[in-house]
Amino acid sequence: MANSVANIFGSSPVMPLEEHVDIAYRCTKQLNGLFKAVIAGDWGEAAEYRNMIETLEHEADDLKKEIRLHLPRSLFMPVPRQDLLELLLVQDKMANRAKDVSGLVLGRKLQIPDAIADDFLEFVKRNVDAAKQARKSVRELDELFVTAFRGAEVSLVESLIEELDQIEADTDSRQADLRSALFAVENSLQPVNVIFLYRVIELTGEIADMAERVGRRLELLLAH
């Protein structure tokens, strides 16, 4: 009977969710270094980045499972459990995409033509920026719980999400530009390599898409 009051508190998913988004962001961030190494032709260093991405993706996966385990249906929370689980899922997908991209680049020893190298790096960086902004938004989750999803803190998070949307829009236009730049030079390149370049551009762009979906999920939490 002594611990009856204590036990009614389930474990709060807030800090683990923030930790998870941090890992997912750090996972995507390795792509900056990875592509720099690839363009420089340093495959040894690229492989190191690839390993780092795999480790972080695993870490995110483990934490995801851990969070799910501690969110039984019997929990009564200020926001629907399902919305939190879906937020977790899209956070995790940012890391998954980073892993897919790195796998493809390393597996095929992808050549990035000099003509688009700078634009390519900038495009990757903007996607990582989107993930970073998603992290910044999710990191307000603890404050949102403190204020019980009301007032000034909500407006703060809304402005963060707006910024996230702008970054995502920027990656979209960069993606289009990058495709047409690649299209302009594709005849001088190896056809199979070109196919996979398009594929890598598409997959990288999905990181920003997932980051944007993190924002949408957060917005849903605010709307309750």
Binding site: M1, A2, N3, S4, A6, F9, L75, R150
Partner: protein
């Protein structure tokens, strides 16, 4: 003469054991919220608990004690056979104590109040006769067990909503906290002081008029609020741990308030739960000493002192560890929430103590926590555990009753 001493000795031993158990186990539920939210260190919590549990028991514990002592069983019916009341009350103490021991071992969250009331009703209904139970009074008590968590929940929800509106959702929560927290301190101090003055001072020998009582309560509350305001003004924001809205520092402001509500909670707990231990003891003493069953007999002050002391000893010997353990588990209840829950629970319990209704401190506090949860104040509440706590109601009452019946017949055949 021989028999009287045996009866009183047994009752005192059982009563102190019960009080010890309440101090060792039950107080943790009342105090751990403050420790968990880091408003108090464990040492401070023990000190606060010891002082205010004792004050609550001594100053405001009389009404509930008298309810347990003579309002559940129709004592007039026993005027021919006073020894039956003695056996019954001894059996009730034994039954409640045994049941609490079993429950603690298995980690079931049961209420001392429910077990002692169940035990008394049990021995009276079966050992003496259905008519021996004051069913009207029992119905009132049973009703209050439903009403008290709901009421505490409602008050907690209103308090927490006001905190959201006045402080947490503002652009500068820290400034708002510094402005409004002293007001909450005033209300917390006012409620507790008023009940103490209205209910407690009489048997200490002071008798104030109603107007004077209110005035005194206001004056004391203002003084406490001013002290609180002074403490709050010394709190400076911590740039390392704060984000934009300074919520870390805001919680530290609320921590000052929580010191006051922790005192209230300890006081309330003492005022209501001491009766579970000493109510039956008081009944045995009055019958054994006078040889008659009279409902007019006054409650000896030393019995209240004994109960208060028993709780404090339980707290010092065993309660320290329990509070530390429970406190470590309650980290979600930050001061801005914890105070709302504690203030709501303490207010409800103190009102019940004033009207002489024995309610469960734990259930009232759980109701209050749920109220804060309904206002979206708590990250995660496990409804399964809440369900288990409320289920233990249903089990504890018959369990206490059955054990009391067994002990009653046992004692009647063994004792002179």
């Amino acid at each position: 003469m021989e028999a009287e001493i045996i009866y009183i000795g047994l009752a005192a031993a059982f009563g102190i054991f019960m009080a010890w158990g309440i101090g060792a186990n039950d107080v943790a539920n009342a105090m751990a919220t403050s420790v968990g939210s880091k408003a108090l260190t464990i040492r401070q919590a023990i000190l606060v608990a010891a002082v205010f549990e004792f004050l609550g028991a001594f100053l405001a514990g009389g009404e509930v004690t008298s309810t347990i002592r003579k309002d559940i069983v129709d004592v007039e019916l026993l005027s021919g056979t006073p020894e039956l009341l003695i056996y019954g009350m001894l059996a009730s103490l034994l039954a409640a104590g045994t049941w609490l021991l079993i429950a603690s071992r298995n980690g079931w969250p049961v209420s001392t109040t429910h077990s002692i009331v169940g035990a008394i009703v049990g021995f009276a209904a079966v050992g003496i006769g259905i008519d021996a139970v004051q069913w009207g009074e029992v119905a009132t008590i049973a009703m209050s067990w439903v009403v008290s968590p709901v009421l505490a929940g409602f008050i907690a929800l209103r308090i927490y909503r006001s905190v959201q509106r006045l402080i947490l959702s503002q652009n500068d929560p820290l400034a708002c906290a510094k402005r409004y927290v002293p007001v909450y301190i005033f209300f917390a101090a006012f409620t507790i002081t008023l009940v103490t003055i209205l209910k407690g001072l009489k048997h200490v020998g002071l008798d104030l008029s109603l107007a004077a009582s209110y005035l005194l309560a206001v004056v004391i509350a203002v003084v406490i609020a001013l002290i609180g305001k002074f403490a709050i003004q010394r709190i400076r924001p911590d740039p390392k741990l704060d984000k934009k809205h300074h919520f870390y520092t805001v919680e530290r402001v609320f921590a000052v308030l929580m010191v006051i509500t922790a005192c209230s909670m300890a006081f309330a707990h003492g005022s209501n739960d001491v009766a579970n231990a000493i109510g039956p003891l008081a009944a045995v003493i009055s019958v054994a000493q006078s040889g008659i069953v009279g409902s007019k007999a006054v409650l000896p002050v030393w019995v209240l002192l004994l109960g208060g002391a028993g709780i404090v000893i339980g707290l010092a010997t065993f309660g320290v560890h329990v509070i530390a353990t429970v406190g470590r588990k309650i980290t979600q209840l930050t001061p801005s929430r914890g105070f709302a829950a504690e203030l709501a629970a303490a207010t409800t319990i103190v009102i019940a103590s004033g009207t002489g209704i024995p309610i469960s401190t734990t259930h009232t506090l759980v109701g209050a926590v749920l109220g804060v949860g309904l206002a979206r104040g708590i990250a995660a509440i496990d409804l399964r555990v809440v369900g288990r706590i409320f289920m233990s109601w249903v089990v504890t009452i018959p369990a206490g009753a059955v054990l009391a019946i067994i002990f009653f017949f046992l004692l009647r055949s063994v004792l002179p």
